[in-house]
């Protein structure tokens, strides 16, 4: 397997000039090598990456003073072999649309690139040649500026968004069906807008369903309703001020987002937190992991029409939130980690509270199995439904429990073995069917595994240790990528630092974003009720998708 990676590098060197290939320090930058590929070769390169079993982890652009860089991150399921491929696009002086120029699209190779490229289009104005549906993704379609350009000063935003009632009316027209590219209407078919106001879209998501009777022919998720542009926000703040943003992306599992940011900056600065800090971090993240899965389980079963499990899940989640509140003072949008340490040490009552929680929750898990897992109606509703094949998972860059349910044991906690995870004993639950039931089963088993981790951490917790550290104010110049396993999949941050107090560019690679884009391969042929079940089974959190 390692040989394949070398092949990929050798293969790249044949394509490009050797001096454009750089080895990188993985421990510091999060990537193994970096290659600058000419614009006309990128499609060929992407195709080779796909055949070698790489998935497209992240795709973004950076606006430098003299040029644009389109940055592709590829990673593998089996080994941490992250590769960074860049394409340099010259600035177009007469560009009407931001000036990032025309790029070849790779959305026909990696379907996940579809949304990534649309995002680059709306933030940088880059046009992708051959892209099937190059429209604004997160911003309103009539928005005229390109906010991630460095030349964007924000003055246009005010006039754009709140300009007049006319604009709002124009936008309202969107809701009267506008045919997306992938759906062509036949006689007797009709469209149903599932959302943005709907009980089961878990936030403000709109799914445009193409129906024939109740049979679903196609589905197109339309996102952006809770877009707040965290990436731009972070560009105008210093590194420390970015912390609250990370608590508000995935508000259900915010602790892993704290972890991701802490890990990124610590690796960039070369800091090593004390063992006590690492233990507390793992403890709180895993507790949050369970809380997130519990919330998912409750709402997912609610989608299936089972009301009661929701309250049981919330009862358990409440216990966890109480414990986390003791540690952090917050119940939802945690802002607890700091560079090289934590906001504060945990109080002494926490370990006994956690130890008390564990047996109670174990008993509850048994109840869940009797009440839900073995319920014939539940099995009937979920087995063989919404199948995600490995091939599609690869093309859509699906990660997390959704991927593991398709039989791929990819978990960054093991793959990148960060923090104290290599020292802990836990398994990566997988299922083979890739259906809704498998996704349910994987998440329930993950709760059991997280419980195992928590138990070990409680026993190993160092009695004392420094939880704060003196750190430099700015991050050394360079590019860094760091990823952690969140409750929904691999959460990656790509940081370009110019050595100043503020990040030059931060790209948030959120797991639900890619996972949701895979929805359209799972739904065709099922019924409206199944769409809800499938949507629930991917476990999406909209603010994380819309950022």
């Amino acid at each position: 397997m390692i040989a394949t990676e070398k092949d990929m590098k050798d293969w790249l060197i044949e394509v490009i000039k050797p001096e454009e290939m750089n080895d990188r320090d993985f421990l510091k930058t999060g990537v193994f090598f970096e290659a600058v590929v000419p614009k006309n070769k990128i499609v060929e390169v992407a195709r080779e990456f796909l055949t070698q079993g790489y998935f497209l982890e992240s795709l973004t652009a950076v606006d430098f003073a003299e040029c644009f860089e389109i940055v592709y991150h590829f990673n593998r399921w089996d080994l941490p072999k992250r590769a960074c491929v860049k394409v340099v696009a010259a600035k177009e002086t007469n560009g009407i649309d931001g000036g990032a120029g025309v790029m070849p699209t790779i959305s026909s190779i990696y379907q996940s690139a579809d949304w990534f490229e649309r995002e680059i289009f709306e933030f940088f104005g880059a046009r992708f040649d051959g892209h099937p549906n190059l429209k604004r993704l997160l911003l309103p379609e009539n928005y005229r500026s390109f906010p991630l350009l460095k030349s964007f000063k924000g003055e246009a935003a005010g006039s754009d968004v709140t300009q007049s009632l006319e604009l709002i009316k124009e936008y309202a027209h969107e809701f009267e069906v506008k045919t997306p590219h992938s759906i062509t209407k036949k006689e007797n078919d009709y469209y149903l807008n599932l959302g943005p106001q709907h009980p089961s879209t878990h936030g403000v998501l709109r799914v445009l369903l193409h129906l024939s009777g109740e049979r679903v022919l196609g589905a197109e998720p339309i996102i952006g309703y809770s877009h707040r542009h965290h990436e731009k926000m972070m560009e105008i703040q210093n590194y420390l001020a970015c912390w609250p943003n990370f608590g508000r992306l995935d508000y259900v599992g915010a602790m892993s987002y704290n972890f991701g940011y802490a890990r990124l900056i610590e690796r960039a600065m070369g800091l090593t937190p004390s063992p006590r800090v690492e233990h507390i971090r793992v403890l709180t993240s895993e507790l949050n992991h369970i809380a997130s899965h519990l919330l998912w389980m409750g709402t997912f079963l609610l989608d299936l029409g089972a009301f009661t499990p929701f309250f049981y899940c919330f009862d358990d989640r409440e216990n966890i939130l109480d414990i986390l509140e003791m540690a952090t003072g917050e119940r939802l949008t945690y802002d607890y980690f700091r560079f090289g340490g934590l906001d504060r040490d945990i109080p002494t009552e926490i370990i006994p509270a956690v130890k008390k929680f564990i047996p109670g929750f174990k008993k509850r898990l048994k109840d869940y199995h009797t009440l839900v897992t073995k319920n014939p109606i539940f099995e009937q509703r979920t087995k063989g439904l919404g199948i995600l094949t490995k091939e599609n998972a690869l093309k859509f860059g699906v990660t997390g429990p959704t991927l593991r349910a398709s039989g791929v044991a990819m978990d960054l906690r093991r793959q990148e073995s960060y923090s104290i995870y290599p020292e802990l004993d836990f398994n990566i639950p997988t299922a083979t069917d890739g259906d809704v039931f498998s996704r349910y089963l994987v998440r329930v088993r993950e709760m059991e595994e997280s419980l195992k981790i928590i138990q070990q951490v409680c026993e190993r917790m160092p009695a004392s240790g420094e939880v704060k550290m003196k750190v430099p104010k700015n991050v050394p110049k360079g590019e860094y990528y760091s990823a952690v396993e969140s409750a929904r999949g691999s959460f990656g941050i790509y940081l370009v630092s110019d050595g100043t107090l503020n990040p030059y560019r931060i790209k948030l690679r959120t797991p639900s974003f890619s996972n949701l884009s895979a929805l359209k391969t799972m739904v065709p042929g099922c019924l409206v009720s199944d769409v809800i079940a499938i949507l629930g089974s991917i476990d999406i959190v909209l603010p994380e998708i819309d950022r």
Binding site: S200, E214, L302, A306, T308, L371, Q380, L527, S529
Partner: protein, 327 residues
Amino acid sequence: MILNEILKIILYGTLVILFVSVNALFLVWMERRVSARIQLRRGPIHVGWQGLLQTVADAIKLLTKELVTPSHADKFLYWLAPVLVFAPAVAAFLILPLADHVVIRDLNIGFLFVFSLTNVSFIGIFIAGWSSNSKYALLGSMRAVAQNISYEIPLLLSTMGVVMMSETLKLSGIVSAQATTWFVFPQFLAFVIFIISALAEANRAPFDIPEAESELVAGFHTEYSGMRFALFFLGEYTAVFISSAIAAALFLGGWREPAVPWISLANLGPLWYLLKTYAIVFVVMWIRWTFPRLRSDQLMALAWKVLIPLALLNVFFTALMMQVFEK
């Protein structure tokens, strides 16, 4: 004579409507308390004794709410639908035998009258979905009609065994025929089929597919508000009550006290009847808060592939047994 008859109609009408309203309020309260017990909650406890007045407060809220009619709706049909859903449910009270000879109208066609009336309410449901001019409402009413037509068959077939054993369609006659044994013992399979089909007829979970709120927002009554919505609500709870009351009369001996020697409360017929009915209602609620919802095609498969063959088998075996034991 005619005047007397008219007065009787007015009196009974008022009594029934009064009972329906109070009963629905009570059932809603009961549902909330039962679900709360099942879900580790407490339910309404603050308004009135044990929260009994909470539903009254809610009813006042619904009564005072604005009646919104969607701009694209068919106004007359939109107005008609809730009435069509509610009225048949009330009319079914006419034939319930509360005690020996205490019944408003002891019709010869008996419970067939109830089932034919409840079918009228499906037309109301379909009209509601159609006239709202909303896709969710239309999908909901489509599902409702398909579901109700399918479940009518096992529902009626399951009662056939009882009819054969008691040799009458009159509810009072059926109750009299249960003097020695309740029909639930010889007709247990029919009882189960009846309860399942009645759940589906009343659109109750796990068969609440027409109003599946996580899928269709609120199904056929998505666009309704205020008192019109309340009429659908009343209709649903009354339908549950009627189904349970019919089940109690057909299978649990109606107003007859349980055949336990040390309890001689024979004169409290209506009380026993209500008790049995509420016991069935409780089971219905229990089921609702325990199971996830079925999918519409699975629901159809259950009716056509499982319940109807079983109900037919039950009719066959009942006939066979009657032949074997009586000759």
